[in-house]
Symmetry: C2
Subunit: 146 residues, 2 copies
């Protein structure tokens, strides 16, 4: 593969990391504003969404998918458990692992808040210019994190 | 403008914020590995680069460009000042503002480390597929943070 190499960039404002950070600040700010009424941090909502689409996921797998370190992830699950939104269970098939589920209350909560999350996503999609641009952005971000 | 709207996304792994975060983790990890020998955090290096391209920039402008909150930014400048890399000066034209400069040592340090930073950027550009993809990514990220 013949990759073009950059030898001219001299300003931090031309760097990939700089723009990733600025974009993430905007997205996180919009997210936080959206979820103020629910007193929910982005990581908490991400985990609830993940448990909704992957019920029974192993705690270690969920931490890896969300890119959250083990100690922080345990605290995150604890917080959702204390709010009655998620629970740990040991599956019959393997008592050594912790499987994660939404509670009934957690399922209702995700149903109630998913619409808000989509509105947040749609505001970001509008900023980008449309769904094609969103897909292109995610494709490029996927390459970075591959 | 006719913007397509997403009403079907139900998984957090389809969200823009999710992929921004994953990509940023990879970029930050590579950056941190690169700068281990220099004992330098990303924000510290970003500020040094900014002072190199904008000598005499006002403290408040620098904080805004880097997207760092005021209290954190003051601590950041203090840290670089203590290491003898940056300094504050009050310009004759307006004694109320703080202008930021690299010291001679800071200038040497930026010259020495810019090559390392470019190597880091080039690894990210290679992951993306080349300079055109980098430009496209930054264009999309700029739209998000506009």
């Amino acid at each position: 593969m013949n990759i073009s190499i950059d030898m001219t960039t001299t300003s931090i404002e031309e760097g990939i990391g700089y723009w990733l950070r600025r974009a993430q600040q905007v997205v996180l700010h919009d997210f936080s504003e959206t979820f103020v009424p629910y007193d929910l941090r982005p990581a908490e909502f991400s985990l609830l969404m993940l448990l909704s689409s992957h019920p029974g996921i192993k705690q270690s797998d969920a931490a890896e998918i969300l890119g959250i370190q083990r100690a922080n992830f345990v605290a995150l699950v604890d917080a959702l458990q204390q709010r009655g939104l998620a629970e740990r269970r040991k599956p019959e098939s393997d008592r050594r692992v912790q499987a994660l589920y939404l509670t009934k209350q957690g399922t209702d909560f995700v149903l109630e808040t998913t619409g808000k999350w989509r509105q947040h996503e749609n505001r970001m999609i509008t900023r980008l210019g449309g769904l094609d641009d969103r897909d292109q952005l995610i494709e490029l971000l996927t390459r970075l994190s591959a």
